[in-house]
Subunit: 149 residues, 2 copies
DNA sequence: CGCATAGAGGACCGTACTGGTCCTGTATGA
DNA sequence: TCATACAGGACCAGTACGGTCCTCTATGCG
């Protein structure tokens, strides 16, 4: 189904909520705000912190705050942070040994353009583009431009 | 990891091999040609037949043949045939009830542009684009155009 | 100074999905 | 008439993911 992991979905939700909370909030607070279980929210935030998308401060009155505004965060970055590198198949970047039929594989290493296309498509969309209303965006988003082809 | 199913990978391999065999071959024949186990090849071909990407003829001397040349088959079609609709998350096309936090979800239904972007990116690449050499394509592929943005 | 809060970083387990095989039925050519 | 090959399932095992929990560290407040 070409599915994205739920964690990545949660990450987007949490980050969006984080900005709505003024750019800073705690994991328990975000849990009640989003309806996502607290341990899960914490897990997502910890992952995002490792990717430097948020910064966590410990102690009482601690919490997480956004490093960049959502409009400066492409979803590709979130996906990479949570799900790892974007690669549709194992046969990427000339990886050797990942596929047992390397010798006979007729599409050897040719998924790369596909991966690149998806990467660039995801890089063109920022988290701000996923936010609620934005009914009539003044400037047509790159998404629309891509879809129009 | 945003992974594609192996079956879809196999499908591309099998279809490519099918064209190299003159557009027609049997499942056992494709199995030995690709190195993929015969039951798996059969499964993939059955799926592709349901999607009208190949046509199977029964009986001795039977087999499968391509309906369209590879250059007329976007990979998106193969992926949809094997893996189902391309949708990164459950919250697609305004599906209701799929997400238990619909009420509070701040990105409700906003993954759609992402899905569209990926769909269009995958639609712009045909199976012919994945074939072996094609080192210096005369006409820059749409993939390159997308990546250049 | 001590305690409550909150993040960091793991380990851990159940489930659901995928990959892969196999079985039965049907069609067709030699 | 039989061997071949597709059609359409059911079926099983391995794995990866989602989700929870535990321990440790840091920090603000009473």
């Amino acid at each position: 189904m070409l599915r994205l992991s739920k964690l990545a979905d949660y990450a987007v939700v949490v980050l969006t909520r984080l900005e709505e909370s003024g750019g800073a909030a705690s994991a328990p607070g975000l849990s009640v705000a989003t309806g996502i279980a607290e341990p899960t929210v914490a897990k997502v935030l910890k992952t995002l912190a490792q990717a430097n998308l948020v910064i966590g401060t410990r102690g009482a009155q601690g919490g997480y705050r956004l490093v960049r505004p959502l409009c400066a965060v492409p979803i590709s970055e979130v996906i990479v942070a949570v799900d790892g590198p974007i690669a549709l198949t194992a046969c990427v970047d000339g990886a050797v040994g990942a596929c047992d039929a390397e010798a006979t594989c007729p599409v050897r290493g040719r998924w790369d353009p596909v991966n690149d296309a998806i990467r660039s498509a995801l890089s063109a969309i920022t988290l701000a583009d996923l936010k609620r209303p934005a009914r009539q965006p003044k400037t047509p988003s790159p998404v629309a431009a891509l879809a129009a082809e």
